[in-house]
Amino acid sequence: MPTSLMDYLRILPEIILTVFGALILLVEGAARGGSRGRIAGALAFIGSLLALAAGISLIRYPGTAFAGMVRVDSVSIYFHILILATVAVVTLLAMDFLRTDGHPRGEFYALLLFAAVGMGFMVSSDNLILTFIGLEISSISSYVLCAYRRHAPKSTEAALKYLLLGSFATAFFLYGITLLYGASGSVSLPAIGQSLAGKMAAGGLALGSLIPLAAALIFVGLGFKVSAAPFQVWTPDVYEGAPALVTGFISTAAKAAAFVILLRVFYVALRGYSQQWFWLMWVAAILSMTLGNIGALRQTSLKRMLAYSSVAQAGYILVAFAVIAQNPAPRVLPGHAPVSGILAGPGVGAILFYLTVYTAMNLGAFAVIARVANRGERFTSLSDFAGLGKRHPGLALAMTLFLLSLLGVPFTGGFLAKLYIFQSAFQAHLIGLAIVALVNTVIAAWYYLRVVVYMYMRPPEGELPPIASSPAWTLGAACCAVVVLWLGILPGHLLHWLAK
């Protein structure tokens, strides 16, 4: 099976990121003096932009590469663009964070790019071996990124918790994959789907007694990574301990990539057993939304509040997963046009749209927190944000926009995203789920708006050190704001493309 040029073109984004990551490490090792940081930052930004361009150019040659290992279809292209855009924005935001906190700079960018390589493999992998390796690359780089503020006990402790629970979850995920491999005889997702469908038609549940067990174990593993309800105990501690920007990156890009694995494994491989895993999704969605929102009510630290809110957001996405499980789209023959791929379905469009908006608003919110927290991340509690409106109107405005979008106020991306999900939930007549989601949005309103009230109505308590203006940061935050507004006001273009 000699690999052809086409195979390498299909993993071009990953190749570019690896090359630039290695270059940054070399620069970090070789050059002396302060200029290393800027060179590394520039290299990282150029690298992520080039990879983004390569990601977009993937549209021209969809299909599979490396003997079915990598599948380039609409989902993988879409998420490549999403993840690489997030990496580019985080590189911009990181330039300011690293300078003020005085950390070694090269390794941060290198690890960021390598995490993106891992996520690229997670997103486009059609083979459980590559999925596992991609998951591990991105997880291990995020463990190290979490511990980036080496001398802060909180940061290393957060990384420790993330590491222990992350590897615990990976072991469960692996055990699920093993049982799937044992039951179906192959590790490539479409082949598993066909052989299990065949088994389902022939025998019935008795024969497939390993499948529900495998599905449960995989869900435990991925539940941790996606911080879905029963397994979200680690999220508040890790999101609060890690540097704000790293939390932003983990809670958006890593979560999106993990959702894609969930999508591919459950939607492609376990398609025949959707009745069984529908209940998994249903329970996880309800628990995530309620626990996330209730947890967020009494938080004083903004990062911890956003951690609970991200658990709730994962709940809304799981609602869309339940919708898919309710009526899996008719089986599209693999020979079909690969661009639409076999992942077209009512819920899938909602998931993609929601994840895009969620990534933009969550990253923007954490960017503002990183900015306000300033050197040593001391100012992250609610009282520090009091009176921000007067002191830094720009920052306060951005924060309000992101919080409103997280809540789902009209004219912001969040509103349309939630609307899309509720609409697909109603179509799949999952009334119970939709009502719980609505109630949760109301609860969420309280703690989102509380921050806005603090920022504008309350007099500033204590003094904040002057926040130096940094062009790179403003550009990055502006990108997030533009995406949120653009998807809020005229989403037509994206919706049309998603429907295709």
């Binding site: 463990y143 080496r150 006990p153 590897s167 072991a171 055990y175 491999y181 044992g182």
Partner: protein, 100 residues
């Protein structure tokens, strides 16, 4: 001719011992060792399935699991060293900076 279920039950036992270790153990390194035990248990069932299905993929998968476990152990212990440098203790229940 050993039935396949013997191997799978043995790997189930080892996996459960790993999970029990993860919950019961009180110091960082022992918790991390229990995770390695869980990964070993998974490797055993992978090789058993690979032999039963007469298919090479199981062995290949175990090979990559070992490589990944090595990188994970390396980074994991680096983080444990960084934690001990900051907190001077290995006990897990003192890791409650963020509980309050």
């Amino acid at each position: 001719m050993i039935p396949l279920s013997y191997y799978l039950i043995l790997s189930g036992i080892l996996f459960t011992l790993g999970v029990a270790g993860f919950i019961v153990k009180s110091d960082l390194i022992s918790v991390f060792i229990s995770i390695e035990l869980m990964l070993n248990a998974v490797n055993l069932s992978l090789i058993a399935f690979s032999h039963y299905l007469r298919d090479m993929t199981g062995n290949l998968f175990v090979f990559f699991v070992m490589v990944v476990a090595a990188a994970e152990a390396a980074v994991g212990l680096a983080i444990i060293i960084a934690v001990v440098r900051n907190r001077q203790t290995l006990s897990l229940d003192e890791m409650d900076l963020m509980k309050h």
